[in-house]
């Protein structure tokens, strides 16, 4: 709560900061072209909502999803992550960071022989658990892993 209050106070002080908070919302109309971009999911502010909006609430924990990422990331702006899923027939892979301002980072759909594998780099504001959700055979599986961040990469 205190954190929120602090933010609001800061916002009042700088005059424009409330606008910053709203900016994301205000800018959206220009995004209309990307019609199938899952706006609700990417704008969810907590993990549970994000999971729900990609239809993955109640996903089963799975040890078959391997997450290769550094334990401690010095630079939160560039964290490499490699996901390998040993569950056959993976249809999609979603990456989420629990404590990011918007937890959902990417949602990849795989088709026509693409394996349950994804390698990318992402940003994280602070130390948090990274969750990987894999959809295979109509079911969702989830795995998580904590990554410690020394310098946050979300700006500010």
């Amino acid at each position: 709560m205190n954190h929120l209050r602090r933010l609001i106070l800061k916002g009042g002080g700088a005059g424009g900061v409330l606008a910053c908070a709203l900016a994301a919302g205000l800018l959206r109309p220009t995004l209309a072209q990307a019609a199938d971009w899952n706006k609700a999911a990417f704008e969810s502010k907590n993990l549970a909502d994000a999971l729900k909006s990609i239809g993955a609430d109640g996903a089963a924990e799975s040890a078959e999803i391997l997450i290769k990422a550094p334990e401690i990331a010095e630079n939160g702006a560039v964290i490499p992550i490699e996901v390998t899923c040993r569950i056959a027939g993976a249809e999609s892979i979603a990456l989420l960071a629990e404590k990011n301002p918007f937890p959902l980072m990417a949602h990849a759909e795989l088709a026509n022989g693409t394996e349950g594998y994804l390698n990318t780099r992402f940003k994280m504001g602070q130390t948090s658990v990274v969750k990987v959700v894999v959809k295979a055979g109509g079911k969702h599986y989830i795995a998580g892993r904590e990554i410690k961040v020394t310098i946050g990469g979300c700006g500010g």
Binding site: G16, V17, W37, F42, E82, M105, L110, N112, N119, K123
Partner: protein
């Protein structure tokens, strides 16, 4: 005009290993200009699509949490050397880029 992507695609044990590097600022909308206190407007890739011989193989929706100059690595089973790979992205400002490559 967006810079072309760098694509590496080669066959490893019957699977095409593909790595794509895009040049993009991936501005989150959270970062503030220290002088004005205003946030830099968000500017990030929202969609990345890849096709092999015109068949879609990967369709990624991205949020701003993907790092600057994004990299995506993925593996396609059943692709062959010589297949045509096309990768395209579109960002939240409607900018687009498309690059073709051949799987080696």
């Amino acid at each position: 005009m967006a810079e072309p992507m760098k694509i590496r695609a080669r066959m490893v044990d019957g699977t095409a290993h593909i790595v794509v590097l895009m040049i993009h600022p991936m501005e989150t909308g959270q970062r503030k200009d220290p002088r004005s206190g205003q946030a830099y407007p968000a500017h990030f890739i929202q969609h990345v699509t890849a096709t092999v011989n015109d068949k879609p193989v990967l369709n990624v929706q991205c949020g701003p949490a993907i790092s600057k100059n994004p990299m995506f690595g993925f593996r396609v089973k059943g692709a062959k050397a010589g297949d045509k790979l096309v990768v395209a992205w579109e960002d939240n400002k409607g900018e687009k880029s498309r690059t073709e490559a051949t799987i080696a």
